[in-house]
């Protein structure tokens, strides 16, 4: 019976995956920065905050900014999907409109999280945002864990994973872009690693603590780390190929190309090409997402009922 997915549901599922991943990544980044700032008494709060804004693509304005303002705008703002609360709210609405497609457990996870945010937000004013950020991260993990354990590996599941993968590439690229393109606001390498949740994995692979540009290599090219760009691209490509393979798939082609480029890139070349590569990665993800929309959920269907008559 349920061998097909409504276009509307496919779109909602993709965005649910994207928004939960975005909330998760944003919580990680904020947590890493806050942690860094507390431990480093010489750090300039304004600079660090501007760097955060730059990563998340929000205009910082001309006045000096502090951490509370950052939290208000990047965590607690329910009207912006760039902020955690807005992203989770949007994920909840999308999951709600696809309630017969996501499992009850997944929907309840998002809904309960949404209701729990208010308490944690209030607590954050008194004791700091750690509980709040921790809640977001653990619920995002729970959500994707439930997706993995309660959804069939059918197209519905692939749309969720596709959304998550594309968002993951985007967030990783954003992190690296600030380091590479905007030296004034650059985060240090260890902060960058922990913002990606990659500090321990990196330490295990390289036996060090990431004071080198090899961090970029790890975050882009590591085959095994699930948040690396290569890994996320590979996953997205797998989803797209399983969703059906037209001969020239405009959704798969841009990310497939980049995936192969990353696969055969060696370390010296990486450093040289990094700025260009990051731009290409972002463009490829965007092109792919647009092609997915066009193919799987076209809005402008032909208006056929006008001739139908009564």
């Amino acid at each position: 019976m349920n061998d097909v997915i409504l276009s509307r549901i496919a779109e909602a599922l993709t965005w649910t995956g994207r928004y939960v991943e975005r909330a998760d990544a944003t919580a990680r980044i904020l947590d890493a920065y806050l942690h860094r700032m507390l431990e480093d008494p010489w750090r300039d709060e304004d600079v660090a905050c501007r760097s955060l804004y730059a990563i998340l693509g929000v205009d910082a304005g001309a006045d000096s900014v502090d951490m509370q303002q950052v939290l208000d705008q990047l965590a607690f703002d329910s009207r912006s999907t760039c902020a955690i609360e807005g992203a989770l709210g949007a994920a909840r609405l999308n999951a709600r409109s696809a309630r017969e497609a996501v499992s009850s457990a997944m929907w309840e996870c998002l809904n309960a999280t949404w209701h729990a945010l208010a308490d944690q937000r209030r607590a954050a004013r008194r004791t700091g945002p750690y509980g709040y950020l921790e809640l977001v991260r653990s619920r995002a993990a729970l959500f994707f864990g439930l997706a993995d354990s309660t959804m069939s590996r059918d197209d519905s599941w692939r749309f969720v994973v596709l959304g998550r993968s594309l968002e993951r590439v985007d967030m990783t690229v954003r992190l690296l872009s600030v380091r590479v393109l905007d030296a004034a606001h650059a985060p240090d390498w260890p902060t960058l690693l922990s913002a990606s949740g990659a500090d321990e994995a990196y330490a295990r692979v390289y036996g060090g603590f990431g004071d080198t540009p090899r961090v970029a290599e790890f975050l882009l090219l590591d085959r095994d780390f699930p948040r690396s760009a290569l890994h996320a691209l590979t996953t997205a490509e797998e989803c797209l190929s399983a969703l059906g393979r037209p001969r020239q798939d405009p959704a798969r082609r841009p990310i497939g190309r980049l995936r192969t480029r990353l696969e055969y890139l060696d370390s010296p070349a990486l450093e040289e090409q990094l700025p260009l590569l990051l731009g290409d990665l972002q463009a490829a993800c965007m092109a792919s997402a647009e092609a997915v929309a066009e193919r799987f959920y076209p809005y402008q269907g032909p208006v056929v009922w006008a001739q139908e008559g009564a």
Binding site: H115, V304, E308
Partner: protein
Amino acid sequence: MADIFDAYALVDAWDEMFERPGEVRTAYEPVLAALQPIEPGELRFRADQMARAFTDRGVTYAFAGEERPWPLDLVPRILDALEWDFIQRGVAQRVRALEAYLADAYGPCRAFEDGVVPWRLLLGSPHFHRAAHGVEPPGGVRIHVAGIDLVRDEAGDFRVLEDNVRVPSGVSYVIENRRAMTRVFPSLFDGQHVVPVDGYPARLLAALRAAAPEGTADPRVVVLTPGPSNAAYFEHALLARLMGVQLVEGHDLVCRNHRVWMRTTKGEVPVHVVYRRLDDDFLDPLHFRPDSVIGCPGIMTAALAGKVTLANAVGNGIADDKLLYTYVPDLIRYYLGEEPVLPNVESYRPDEPGQLDAVLDQLDRLVIKPVDGAGGQGIVIGPKADAKTLAKTRKAVAADPRGFIAQRPVALSTSPTLAGDRMAPRHIDLRPFAVNDGTDIWVLPGGLTRVALQEGNLIVNSSQGGGSKDTWVLAEGPADGPAALPADDAPPAVAPRQLGPDGVPSAVQEGAQQQ
């Protein structure tokens, strides 16, 4: 020790739990025994826990623009096997008669020719859709799902209050109420034989598939919802999920060549049965309200061409008009040749010659209902109304006798309900749900019991702040122990899970798993 039933004072109505003060009815004995020793604080704790669970699961409803957890009282409402058998027969009989009436009204019109029902009742109904005339639905079913509202009067007799055969809602709360109660209050079920309610989605799906246009090998069923902003969206999503079918909105569907398709990631796919949860008026802008954007243009044409089945059928509104309600006992005799199992509430038809004056004369002793009102709106309870309201009502009824019916006020039965930290009697009603698959009318055991949470209030709708109760139907059989025990020498139903090295079950493993 404080007893939550200490202050329970019976009012002038049939009480579901107590025959007389302190004298509990048999079916309720175990429940009372389980509830009585519980401290008020503990009950409150469980009620809060339940509300929290409802909020997290999204089982909510909109009240005064606010999202509130579904209100479920902790005390179940119990129907014994005999009572249920009676209700179920009465409900099924009523649905059969209403089906016969719809087939007649949209076909040969015998009942009108024979003078059982006046013509004006049909022709004056805003729900009479010419588009539905002459359509022969698959299996002859127009009422795939019905919700028949019952009340229990002062003498303890069940009476029909109204019939809902358009898009009756609330069945999801029957399922959710039971699930919540078994989680929050498992001990209450100990030693009881409560008939399960989770068979509904399977019955519904079977009935919907049976309703597919003839010759459809593997019918595709969908649930059509107005969307997430609708108050009953939770129910639409639950039913779609439990049936494993798509939940579609109007713009997910497209009609072409008198057929209905849905837009999917694999292109357009044909749809055969639409369990629609929106009113006729919004279904198809080409036939009904042209300004409606939540329906699907052309779906009515496809239905008329017999390419898609709409459940429930378009035009059913003529059968749950409150004025028609007063004729249903006659219809049961006329079409089925049977006596009604369930009586109506005594009613007047101001529409009929001579009755208008009788109604106007004793307005302050009657309940006045607009024939088209929904959700308890517009009902005036004469004995409780002030002079101004009565005057206004008198004028309205005199101006439009067809628009109202009048009924004897019934003191609905009461059931103990948690109010603050004590039990208090509150008025309740019951909406059993029937599913018609064309050969059999099945009534979901129990139904939705709604409770008026304010003292003395007789209107139970959730849109007016009402609550609900888990409704138990007790299975027939011995009061204690399972109905049938397997014989001693019967093989175990389930093979042991873990065998030790010598081929015998490993006690350690099994024991560890049972912790």
